[in-house]
Symmetry: C2
Subunit: 336 residues, 2 copies
DNA sequence: TTGTATGCGTTATCAG
DNA sequence: CTGATAACGCATACAA
């Protein structure tokens, strides 16, 4: 591999002169510059950024650690991150934690050793140990989507509580009085927030919340399927189901179909998270859509800001607005 | 930032001894080891891999350059890549070219400067200049999904021609005689292959191909929509549409819906590329599914093999089988 | 079993 | 305008 010395030798100058030509820094006479440029072209020289990286402690790369890139929400968030990173000359390293604390910890350790300039993290759990480890090393870190306990750290997330509140109010306005809540895990802040928003709307409407209508479970299709079946057979006869995320919503729809129940004729559904327009041939779900791409962008911008500005300002929480999209899934079945 | 010297000083040993403890190499007495480990823990020392990277010319990172990660096919391919990379201790750098030759060239240049160990590339165009540039620098490169002209390079792709052949044969067996082909761009090998497979099946069935039934255009939803409308109004009265990829298929379905035509009662559809099961609430398209995850995995494995084994074996083309999935979209409408 | 010297590629600093 | 020197952090080769 040809290095700056080879170029210098061929152009009969010192290495530093080659450096000056490449970086347009300092003074170089036109004659010398041309000779150097000729040598660079002749040798096909490519500067090795590892040298400066080692010296100046910046690798111009950030990491995006999500639970799973194949979840379309994270795909879009990641795209937003990459957009901002590449526009600023940063490379984006992609990490999937698969919700595993262990895999996450392993990845974070590697990232530290590679001297990554900053990390965008969707925490695999609400255990703050990994996060503290990063912060101790003074590596800028922005948490995505979820709040974490016991650490002061930048967070960029959507307003789950408000979204859930609005969706629930929407159902209430349509006349629903028994609304089942298929929530995510109790350990995830978004899930708790969504239940809180749901409860808030009920209380405001003077409706006594019923714990038996709240199904805490995973954010998965299977959980949605499983609990929707329970809802169908529930003695409380709910007329609407609130799915805490898109996967739960899809499981719910499948369960209803299996029982030959129609949406919204037999049951109304609302959900947090939209389904990407590309893939839903018949968009009909009423949803509170989270701004995925914007979340990625905003978080990446905050991270780059932290990287560039050494002074440690206090951590901030950026809370993005969700968008209500009212479609056909949430009404019409109140004869029941 | 604390370095190996700080640890050495605290443990009262030479830096190399610390190195030996970390890497479990050479002899270190238990007593010394413990002292060193204590010092590492006390200082929260994290080894800086940039040193060895510079010295040994390997960064343990590969790049995955796709056209757009938000295309679910590439999402899944990328996941396969990341699986293999992380299992082998490599980091995956994510790049989106957005089908822009310029963006691709810019990214590749950066990757070269960062001393990336290898590159997985979905070429933005069939211009081989970028690829030659990489190969000249002796950086292992594996091309994904598409063949490129005028360069000998490793390629991992699916058998588009065979997939198109089988889909077309399926339509022919159902009795269709006028099958419109909504193809991708003429400049992309997959698109050409799919048309070739289509033509092959027609010829085999003794049907005269008609150029007016072939619509070369982009691999996008818009193109699918646009050309499906033309097909509907075509004097040739096709009874089936072959969508060359999933986006074209979705555009086609939308166009049919807009005209209040039903699939498959008024028009049959088949497509290459499946729609991720998670998001199609009612899977009904007959498709030739490409093994996306496997494609990523196989390509990453080939790349790592090239990285580890210096000797340059001749480039190879790995062609993966597609899977026919026959659903309801392809029959029933032959009264027309 | 432990340690010394050296070099990977680059650029800031200071000197000419 | 150009150049010599040094330093970033680590592990190999060699020495003790």
């Amino acid at each position: 591999m040809t290095n700056i010395q080879d170029v210098a030798k061929l152009a009969k100058v010192a290495p530093i002169t080659v450096s000056r030509v490449i970086n347009n820094s300092g003074y170089v006479s036109d004659k010398t510059r041309k000779r150097v440029e000729g040598a660079i072209a002749e040798l096909g020289y490519v500067p090795n950024m590892l040298g400066p990286s080692l010296r100046f402690k910046q690798t111009m790369s950030i990491a995006a650690m999500v639970t799973d890139i194949t979840n379309p929400f994270w795909t879009t968030v990641t795209r937003g991150i990459e957009d901002v990173a590449s526009a600023n000359g940063y490379l984006t390293i992609l990490c999937n934690s698969d919700e595993s604390e262990e895999k996450q910890a392993l990845y974070l350790e590697t990232l530290l050793q590679r001297q990554i300039d900053g990390i965008l993290l969707v925490p695999a759990s609400n255990d703050s140990a990994s996060i503290k480890r990063i912060l101790n090393q003074k590596i800028p870190l922005v948490v995505l989507d979820r709040e974490v306990q016991n650490v002061a750290v930048d967070v960029v997330r959507a307003d789950s509580q408000e979204g859930a509140y609005l969706l629930t109010k929407h159902l209430l306005a349509l006349g629903h009085r028994h609304i089942a809540m298929l929530a995510g895990p109790k350990s995830t802040s978004t899930s708790v927030d969504r239940v809180t928003g749901y409860l808030h709307a009920l209380e405001e409407a003077g409706i006594e919340p019923n714990d038996d209508l709240i199904y805490w479970d995973a954010y998965t299709q299977e959980a949605g399927y499983r609990n929707a079946k329970r809802v169908i057979n529930s003695a409380l006869c709910p007329t609407a189901i609130f799915a805490a995320n898109n996967f739960i919503a899809i499981g719910t729809i499948q369960a209803l179909k299996d029982q030959e129940l129609c949406v919204p004729d037999d049951m109304s559904i609302v959900a947090v998270d939209d389904i990407p327009p590309t893939y839903s041939l018949e968009p009909f779900l009423t949803v509170a859509a989270q701004p995925a791409k914007e979340m990625g962008r905003v978080a990446a911008e905050l991270l780059l800001d932290r990287i560039k500005n050494e002074e440690d300002k206090p951590p901030q929480s950026i809370i993005l607005d969700i968008t209500m999209i009212i479609r056909s899934s949430s009404g019409k079945n109140l004869k029941r």
